[in-house]
């Protein structure tokens, strides 16, 4: 197979490229493990895996500075790992244990980290979009140059509150990057079956918001677009929209019978467009790493993920008193 070219100009060092490989692989292996633990009954309820979409969050995180904020939906494990939250704490939250990032009280869809400026993990489709603009508002009010990455899906892009938010974000020049992770489906509804205006980023034009479509299976393209968006926001020019074209390999959640698309469709994208394979090829053909180097990374990731799973199994369930705590500050 010929090496896929990046659509972006080379904008990374070899070291950074290796970092991308590692970060994306961590997300993929973590999610595979989560799927496995779900199958064993250790994880309950809804569990939405990020497999296939890794380049989106890894590419954008590479453009953030430490104080920038991020907020996303229930499909949040990848975002948490990419911003440096502890895999053990994330996995233990999935198993509903004391050692989880929300002490077992939030679960897969609701996790937060003040320290990493990660503002959730939200289960109501569309609701995190005004919240993200509000976070950006708080930074503008305080007069710093932080930006807020507000991630949401192609399905969420049809919620009314998204457009209420676009309007105010532009009206007040809020430093918010709206990241539409267009994975082509909202549960079982394809974008084509949900709207006749399928270019989601272009809807921002109605409010005067600039944006662009990005190849989300190419981490370098994501990074390049992210840099542009971040520069726009930091310069006080208001919001920016990135519609990142991506694909989820797994079902919507663990209980998705996946009858709305063919297995061939999934296999084809996996085989031809996979973001991790892409970086792997770039590393090998560019002689930035050897097969052995990559094997070492694989091994390291495997052990991180296994440790996280072990921790998530060993950590006790929350004490019964926890039922009554954290209701009021």
């Amino acid at each position: 197979m010929a090496t896929r070219k990046s659509t972006a100009k080379s904008n990374v060092s070899a070291e950074e490229l290796l970092g991308f490989y590692r970060d994306m692989l961590l997300i993929r292996r973590f999610e595979e493990k989560a799927g496995q633990l779900y199958g064993m009954g250790l994880i309950g309820g809804f569990c939405h895996l990020y497999i296939g979409q890794e380049a989106v969050v890894v590419g954008l995180e590479s453009t953030a500075k430490p104080d920038d904020k991020r907020i996303t939906t229930y499909r949040d494990h990848g975002h948490m790992l990419a911003c440096g939250m502890d895999p053990k704490g994330v996995m233990a939250e999935l198993t509903g244990r004391e050692g989880g990032l929300s002490k077992g009280k939030g679960g897969s869809m609701h996790m937060f980290s003040k320290e990493k400026h990660f503002y959730g993990g939200h289960g109501i489709v569309g609701a995190n979009v005004p919240l993200g603009a509000g976070l950006a508002f708080s930074d503008m009010y305080k007069g710093n140059d932080n930006v807020t990455f507000t991630y949401f899906g192609d399905g969420a892009a049809n919620q009314g509150q998204v457009y209420e938010t676009y309007n105010m974000a532009m009206l007040w020049d809020l430093p918010v990057i709206f990241v539409i992770e267009n994975n082509k489906y909202a549960m079982g509804t394809s974008v084509q079956r949900a709207t006749k205006s399928p270019s989601l980023w272009e809807r921002g034009a109605a409010y005067g918001i600039k944006g662009e479509e990005v190849d989300g299976m190419d981490v370098l393209a994501v990074k390049a677009a992210g840099e542009k968006a971040v520069a726009h926001c930091r310069a006080g020019k208001g919001p920016y929209i990135l519609e990142i074209m991506t694909y989820r390999y797994r079902g919507h959640s663990m209980s998705d019978p996946a009858k709305y698309r063919t297995r061939d469709e999934v296999q084809k994208i996996r085989a031809e467009r996979d973001a991790i394979e892409h970086v792997r090829e770039l590393l090998l053909t560019g002689k930035h790493a050897t097969e052995d180097d990559l094997k070492d990374i694989d091994k390291e990731i495997k052990s991180i993920v296994n440790d996280a799973a072990e921790f998530a199994k060993e950590s006790p369930e929350p004490a019964v008193e926890e039922l009554w705590t954290d209701i009021y500050a």
Partner: protein, 459 residues
Amino acid sequence: MATEVLMPALSPTMEEGTLAKWLVKEGDSVSSGDILAEIETDKATMEFEAVDEGVIGKILIEAGTEGVKVNTPIAVMVEEGEDVPAESPSAETAPAPSALNGSEGKTAAPAAAAPMPEAPKADTSPDWPEGTEMKSQTVREALRDAMAEEMRSTDEVFVMGEEVAEYQGAYKITQGLLDEFGARRVIDTPITEHGFAGIGVGAAFGGLRPIVEFMTFNFAMQAIDQIINSAAKTLYMSGGQMGCPIVFRGPNGAAARVAAQHSQCYAAWYSHVPGLKVVMPYSAADAKGLLKQAIRDPNPVVFLENEILYGRSFEVPVLDDFTIPFGKAKTWREGSDVTIVSFGIGMTYALEAAERLAEDGIEAEVIDLRTIRPMDTDAILASVMKTNRLVTVEEGFPQSSVGNYITSVVMERAFDYLDAPVINLTGKDVPMPYAANLEKLALVTTDEVVEAVRKVTYR
């Protein structure tokens, strides 16, 4: 090393399923993501993918087997070139953790033949020191002063809403704030309740202390998801990390002649929700002290005002800084014959009725809850244990009213003290009509309070 492949749980409720079809056979090499089998759950037929790479060493459960319990080994995977062990390896199994059974409530169930419970002690401390200078002020002015004082004391406080700045407030509650604090802190929004409520909540997560004004609470219905799902629940869902110090305020309940969509009391709605605090002041002093408290509170507070009360004057203490704590009711009138509990505009009818009843020698104790959540149940119980009779008065609809909740508390904790069934007076069970005569009939009235008291006192 050989590992067992276990029957997966493929839905939140699945306990067993049918292994409908194998898509691999013994000896096949598989890599992560390959479909191994089709499994019928209680909901659908699902594909089951491999998570690791390896070779299918042995299939343990045949295709077509029904009732395969979750976590039963269904196949053995080996590494390339490895033999299938004679005994199946002990796989990475861990039994699912047992669910927490029977959550222990906070209050222990009372013993069967319990003695009469003792009356709790109500907090009757004065709200401000004896002898404090007082001045007459409207509720409107008191609310404005409360916001202005808190905005002066911290830059984190700002006001946003429709017409709050240049127009000076649809009901003039934010009069003068734009002049004093400027457009950075007094922010006119477009008409977009859902959106700006969410932006307010996000700003609170980001460390500010927003005051979000709804032109009336009828319009907050568009924003109720953000108030409940985002503001009220996040502290809990984050294990205590992410608080939301925000005030949602505005007029609530019936104004006059604006009919069904503009005349509804939301006290019972919001009081249902753990994580929210719900305040509904009657007097100007309480409006001021409670709003200042609400702005300082680290939790989301729903602050329900009333348009008819805005123009009413009350005595307000002249103090540089005073607040009224949440969860402390105020006894406006002491009496020994009956307890009337109300809040907000309902207090008008309660107090008028008490005056009229006194002329006939019936002494009513009138309690203003001030905060619906947390609720000062001690004050209610202490009074009911003294008067043995209770009437509640509110403007909202009857079913699942605040009065209903008060009644259940009194039933559980002071049943033997009651000498008559509790009466919950509420608005009528109808959308608010427009016609003047019908509107009057739909609202709770002083006459009805008097009549209810006569009923419970049998006089």
